[in-house]
Symmetry: C2
Subunit: 180 residues, 2 copies
């Protein structure tokens, strides 16, 4: 088999590639990064499920994980849940940003985005976002500008993840006014 076949079982056993086909991300301490990987991949690499498990198929230990959820012991979010939640927060922040922000508000928003790029819990996501910021300084002059800026930043991530782009002309309906 070609060494570039990311579904090669040897790659899986060496804990480089998860069951979803994504590369496993590790923290500086050598442990798998919980908030950087999908739940399924994290469970596989930490030995909770078999590496031959496929999405949609449950194994005994995954069923046990589900059991604990029934007792309301929710697990930490995986990279997808973290991403979805964070975009909901960010777009909502932009939707409430003033149309004519003062200097303080503009400065605050620039700082907020800058610090955000340093503290976002998924390390590879944050690094990508820092790179994006170097090429695309945040537009904080008005709500419309900021909304468009976040929409485009989000679309860059969508493309990277193989998802559809969102039509930024619809950003206001999606995040502020609704569709009526």
């Amino acid at each position: 088999m070609s060494s570039e076949n990311t579904h090669d079982k040897n790659f899986v056993k060496n804990n480089q590639i998860g069951v979803t086909g994504r590369k496993i991300i590790y923290d500086e301490d050598g442990k798998p990064c919980r908030s950087c990987n999908t739940l399924l991949d994290f469970q596989m690499v930490t030995g909770k499920i078999s590496s031959t498990a496929t999405p949609g198929h449950t194994s005994k230990s995954l069923a046990q994980s589900n059991q604990t959820l029934l007792f309301n012991k929710q697990d930490p979010p995986d990279v997808e849940e973290l991403g979805k939640s964070t975009w909901t927060f960010l777009h909502s922040v932009a939707a409430k940003y003033p149309q004519t922000p003062n200097k303080e508000q503009q400065g605050d928003m620039k700082n907020f985005i800058n610090i955000f790029s340093k503290i976002y819990p998924c390390t590879w996501c944050a690094d990508d976002f820092k790179d994006y910021l170097e090429q695309n300084a945040p537009k904080v002059g008005s709500r419309d500008e900021l909304g468009k800026w976040f929409c485009e930043a989000h679309n860059e991530v969508n493309v990277k993840l193989g998802k559809e782009k969102f039509d930024c002309n619809l950003w206001k309906k999606r995040w502020k006014d609704g569709w009526e």
Copy 2:
């Protein structure tokens, strides 16, 4: 009927109290604040559903709203979805915060929380949080401190909303390590 009966139909008709019994929150421009109210209340006060509608019962226009959702036109988040998403983001940030942060990281976290309290899209929520910050300065000395601080801040909101408190001894399992 007592004028303090928040379920008085006159209160509902004057658009002061929503179908959920919560007070309707308005923006400075006099329009209902989308991200400050629950979806049901927002739809009632903007005339999308009848004020005699009760949670769990759908009217024709609510069904129409659901129809547009099927076309993947998601509505802006209501206060509950916004809150849930934001807590997921914040607790995850704290879970990834270093156990021994340097001066810059500590300063960044303090600034981040301060700016957050100004830009959070639900105005009454943000005002409450600013009050909380005045009495409870963020503890940014370590991950454990910060996690505990966010947990306690979240519990203050839980109590305010009539929800159960979360046991902060379990914060690390819930947001960082899981339950195994």
